[in-house]
């Protein structure tokens, strides 16, 4: 029997507390898909092919609102842009991986896998990097799939008057709060949020609110940063 690399088990053990954290998120992603008229297979498709919760949820909401498809996809790209930073910052540790391992590692890259792996690589230079990463990232993948599927089955039976569609913005709220880590990011959140409100209230067509708010909000963050508001 092949032995499991110890670093892989370390990865699984380190990420376990975060498994519980993504379960409600995955449930909401499954429930939301069904509530917006998508099938359980679509919910599974989103979770396996896209595998990026916040963007899945944003796309599901926009599809439910019949937004233009370019806006749906464009919004997903904007929501996932932060992973460009993760890719750049973890790339040096992946440089010696075989091509197939690079593909697997890229596909599995998430906020949690990035944060835990980078911390481990920094403190222990002898880690089997791929094994540890797979322990973290693949176990997250499994938990994500199970919770999305469970949510999709659950969603079919939820009474509409309970308003479970409100769970989606609550998930985004839980993601927003830790992102407000300094004055500049707080400015970018506040401005982004208010711009989105203005765009929606003004009845601007095509659901452009998230993309416009992202551009203006990032601009506000950069402006505050250049004024020296880092504290």
């Amino acid at each position: 029997m092949p032995t499991v690399p110890p670093d892989l088990l370390d990865g699984v053990r380190d990420v376990m507390p975060l498994h519980l954290g993504i379960v409600p998120f995955g449930l909401v992603a499954g429930v939301a898909a069904v509530e917006q008229g998508l099938s359980i297979f679509h919910a599974i498709g989103f979770s396996t092919i896209v595998f990026a919760g916040a963007s899945q949820l944003a796309m599901i909401e926009l599809l439910g609102a019949d937004a233009p498809l370019a806006i749906v996809v464009g919004t997903a790209v904007v929501v996932n842009l932060r992973m460009l930073m993760y890719s750049a910052s973890i790339a040096p540790y992946f440089r010696d991986f075989a091509a197939r391992s690079k593909t697997i590692a890229s596909y599995l890259l998430t906020d949690q896998a990035y944060a835990l792996s980078l911390a481990r690589y920094g403190e222990d230079g002898r880690t089997d990097r791929f094994a540890y990463y797979v322990g973290v990232a693949a176990s997250l993948w499994v938990v994500w799939q199970i919770s999305t599927i469970a949510g999709a089955f659950l969603g079919a039976g939820l009474p509409p008057e309970w308003g479970f569609e409100f769970a989606a913005p609550l998930v985004f709220l839980a993601l927003l709060v830790p992102a407000l880590k300094d004055r500049a990011s707080a400015a970018s959140g506040l401005v982004g949020g208010l711009v989105a409100v203005a765009v929606v209230a003004a009845g601007v067509p095509f659901h452009l609110d998230i993309i416009v708010a992202a551009i203006v909000g990032v601009g506000a963050g950069l402006a505050v940063e250049s004024l020296g508001g880092d504290a």
């Binding site: 596909y107 409100f166 709220l173 993601l175 959140g189 506040l190 949020g193 929606v200 009845g203 909000g217």
Partner: protein, 112 residues
């Protein structure tokens, strides 16, 4: 509101978004050796994307629930969302945020 798009169109969206998301994740992993880092200005900009994007996904959902701005206590989503925001601030946990937000919504809707 259920979507009006047919099943095949939704699959198209899933595949295109999946390919683009993979390209973002794999970008620097594959380019390493040719492009090793994000230019500092781009990096600063990317740091502010999550705050701006997540706020844009939250604010309209609680402030403009029916298409018009509503800042009154009669807006159940605004009240529930504010309580959930306080929970998120102190616990930073998705589960607690959802429980507080949904719980508050149900109290306002079925009890008050």
């Amino acid at each position: 509101m259920p979507t009006s798009y047919d099943a095949t169109t939704v699959w198209g969206v899933i595949v295109v978004a999946g390919v683009l998301t993979f390209a973002i994740r794999g970008s620097f992993v594959y380019l390493f050796g040719r492009i090793d880092e994000v230019p500092p200005q781009v990096q600063s900009a990317l740091e502010y994307v999550p705050a701006a994007v997540f706020a844009a996904l939250v604010f309209p959902a609680i402030i403009v629930p029916e298409g018009a701005v509503s800042l009154s206590l009669g807006n159940e989503r605004l009240v529930a969302g504010t309580l959930a925001a306080i929970a998120a601030w102190y616990t930073e946990r998705v589960f607690v945020t959802i429980v507080v937000g949904m719980g508050a919504l149900w109290v306002l809707r079925f009890v008050v």
